[in-house]
Structures are given as structure tokens and as C-alpha cells.
């Protein structure tokens, strides 16, 4: 298992990551260790967290994502995408994408998200994007 600097947020900070203003570190819950990153979202909001990762010699990138305190009503939805980019922001591919709504609620536990990266012996940009919104076309 290759160590990724502050990949588990165990410094208690978001150093080595690039968060927008929604993100913070919490010790209220975590997948392992003491800390994890969290963003509380409501209404029409987008939270983006990204990190540059040197994947030389790494075959797979893996992390865990969980949606807590979920409320989805009517045409509300939560859209989660995880993508890999080159450092010049050329998209390499989508690792994970799902839209959760009233009829497709997210799982209650941690979701394991992994990306095959053996091809990418270089630095890649891992971008986690979560959007909460309402479909104004209905309701």
C-alpha cells in the first residue's frame, strides 16, 4: 500500500488538499483513524475538494466517501462525481458518478471508490465534486 501524504486527514488539517470553503476536518466520524474531511451542504450548493497525487508505481487509487444526514425531498438531488485530470486540467476520465434522489437514496455506509491508475505514471489531479440542488422543472 502506497502512502499518500495526508490522504487520511490524520494531520487534523486539510493540508496537501485543495478544498473550497465548504470543507473542514472533523473527528466526529471517520472511516479509519481519527479524522476525515467533511462538507455540510444544503439547498443549491457545490463542494469541490481536489488533490494532486503522484501515482508513479501505483496501480489503483482508493478512497472512501459517505453521505451523512441526508434529506432529499421532491425534486431535490445530490450529484457526486469523482474525476481524474492531468495537471494541465485535461480530463483523463470519470472514476465515479451518481445522482441520488428520492427514489435512489445513497447507501448509509461508506462507499469505496477506486480508480485503476497503472497507466498514469505521473502526477494526476483527483477531483471530488458534490452538488446538492433542486430540479426546478418539476414540483
Amino acid at each position: 500500500m502506497a502512502d499518500i501524504p495526508n490522504g487520511g486527514f490524520e494531520t487534523g488539517t486539510l493540508e496537501q488538499w485543495y478544498p473550497d470553503s465548504n470543507w473542514y476536518v472533523t473527528d466526529e466520524t471517520s472511516h479509519s483513524g481519527t479524522y476525515c474531511a467533511a462538507a455540510s451542504m444544503s439547498g443549491i450548493q457545490t463542494a469541490i475538494l481536489y488533490k494532486y497525487v503522484d501515482v508513479t508505481g501505483i496501480s489503483t487509487l482508493k478512497f472512501y466517501l459517505k453521505l451523512n444526514n441526508v434529506t432529499i425531498l421532491g425534486t431535490g438531488f445530490i450529484h457526486v462525481t469523482v474525476k481524474l485530470y492531468r495537471t494541465d486540467d485535461v480530463e483523463l476520465g470519470t472514476i465515479f458518478e451518481n445522482t441520488y434522489n428520492e427514489s435512489n437514496m445513497p447507501p448509509t455506509g461508506w462507499i469505496e471508490i477506486s480508480a485503476y491508475t497503472m497507466l498514469h505514471d505521473c502526477i494526476v489531479k483527483l477531483v471530488i465534486r458534490v452538488e446538492t440542488s433542486v430540479d426546478f422543472g418539476f414540483g
Binding site: A38, F63, G74, I78
Partner: protein
Amino acid sequence: MSVIIFGSLGYIQHQLEHNKAECTVLVDDLTGIDAPVFTGLTNGDFETGTLNGWYVYGGASISTLVVHDGTYSCHLPSYAGIIQRFEPCKQIDIYVNIVSGSGYLTFIIYKPDLSIDRLFKLPKIKDGWFCYRINADIVDPYYKIGISSFNVDAYIDSIQVKQEHDTAVFDGSFDIVSWYNTPVQGTSISTYMPYGISSTPCLYLDTGDYTPNRIAGASCKYDMTNIQSLVLSYKIPQFTSGTLKCIITQGDITIIDSVIAQASGGPVDTWTEHVIDTSNLLGIYTIYVYAESLTSGTCKAYIDNVHIVFKPINITTMLYAMTVPRVLTDRGHILNDITDLGVPICSNMYTVNGEPLLSDSIKLTSQFASFVSRVIHVLTYMAVKIRRVAE
């Protein structure tokens, strides 16, 4: 509950109160799994019965339906692809069977940072399996090869990387006619409109008047070692639907597929130069130049001034060029051994870095090359003698 109906802000407020999404996102434990020790291209023949070793996207899948060798191949329906890292090598051979579709396969060599180093497009040029060869000359161990399909349904198999150029000569058990199953139309030598002020003839390719799927072509064999590029001039006075192409093959392997002009551009009334990069070629190849008509179209083209450009000159290149009889710069004989016509494509000279190496006034015939060779031999002999006397 408040319900405010009037105005867009009221509408949004109503929406947010009855339709909402909220959550707390948690992210943790980003880790990497070590890659296995890289041992070179794996599962290139797909005989594991899986696509293990390949990064797969679109609908790429393993197949037993259309196979080149063994039991399995890789099926690439439209908009599917596979990528894998490969070891430094001189060339990559990929067996291809494009079953249907009007698009093409792409072969991409990626640099370590995943930017594109080279990209080749291959449309359906023949039925059944054939080998597509990429002269890669890769020295960096982190390059990747990607094969993907765009509007074609294709199979690939028997992918091999080779540490040396395969210079085996295939003498052409098939010719260009068999690719299209249509007869060669008018291919002749014309004196109607030669290139420049030359009075020599030029090659005339005539697909006939408004006849679909006809070709007119000529071919020759040529040693492309040390050749930077192949240059030809063309003129297409009548061009309604079709393609003027140059294909360079080695046996049944298409090495270069170069579209000179397509009908969408309309007639080309002035002589235009077309340059084909041949810097990766090594050994003897067959060069086809042909006009093809599509959907009742017409392509009537003239080819002239076919010549080669050497790689940046050094003494080895110079001596090689001078001592090999293939370099005959007599007008009209630079591309010898024309197979379809029995007569040469004409030419004026060849150049180095765009500058004439030998003008028409200097006829470097095989006799002259032989003379130079003898002079070098005598000089070498004298140098050895002088050294022995000195010792």
C-alpha cells in the same frame, strides 16, 4: 409552511421548501495500491480470455467470434478502446479486422504525462485480418499504447512489441486491386500537364467518368532507409467524389496511409506538393499511389515530381546513398521497379533538408556510384599502406 406564488424569487423559495437536498459529505482514507512490477506488454494476444492488463473503456470486450490467432481477440465496437503501458521498443504490430463502419480505428502513443505523442487513423481499407505496424522507436519505459474505435466495428489481436525493426521484405502476394475488388481503371503516363517546365511525362490516374468505387493506381518498391520524407506533386483537374491517396506498405502491413486530397476540396487546378513523413521507416517498402472514386464520382489526377528527402546528412548517409544503385537520379528513374506500369514515375532530383543534393546536371548513375565506391576503396587502401610505412 409559506407559499409565495408571485415572482421568480417566490417560486424558488417555494421550490426549496418542498423540494430539497441536504447532506454532510465525508471523505477519508485516500490510499494507493502499489502497481505490480512492470514486465512489459501483457496479454497482447488476449489468450487469457480476459482483458487483464488493459485499461478498458466503452464496450471493449473479449471475443471468440472473430479471431486472428489462438482462441480470443478483443472486440472494439464503436467508441470503445483499450490502453496499456508497454516497454521501450522499435515497433508494434497489431492485427486488425475492421468488420464494418465508415469511421476509423485510432492508434495513439501516449507520452508518460498522457499527452499524445503520435496518433494514427486507420479506416477500413480491406476485408479480413491484416497487420498494422507502428514504427514506435520508444526509449522511455512509461509510454502507453491506446487503440480505440470511432464508428467502426473492429477486432484486434496478436499485439506484439518488437525490440528491433522487422526489415523482412514481403514481395507483395497481393496488390492494391484485391483491396477493393474492383478493376484498376485507367493508369497511364501522360504528357498532358507535367509538373513545372519539364517535358517529361507524369503519372495519370483516371477512375473513369462518374463510376463509383473504381481505382486507378500505381506502385513501386523502394528502400526507405535514411529517408526523411517522400514528396510528390499532384494536380486533380476533375474531382467530384473520391480520394487521392498514398499508402506505404510492407507486405500486407499498412505502415502509412496518407490522404493526399479528398473530393470535398473540389478540383485542384494547380500543382500542389504533398509531403509524407517516412522518417520511421527502415527497409524496403511498397508505395502505392492511387485515385479512388466514390458514389458515382470522378477522380482524375496527375502525379509528378516524386522525390525523396534524406534525413539530415552525415557521411554515412552520404556514402550509403552514393553506393546503393537505388539512388538513380536520372530524370524519371528515382522510383524504379514500377510494378503496375512497367514504366517509371518521373522525377527531377532528390534533396537534403530542402536543398538539392544533386542537380540534374550531375547524373549520379549506378556507374558513378560504383566509381565513388572504388575511389573510397583506393583511399582506404592507401591510408592503410601509409600507416604501415609509418610504423
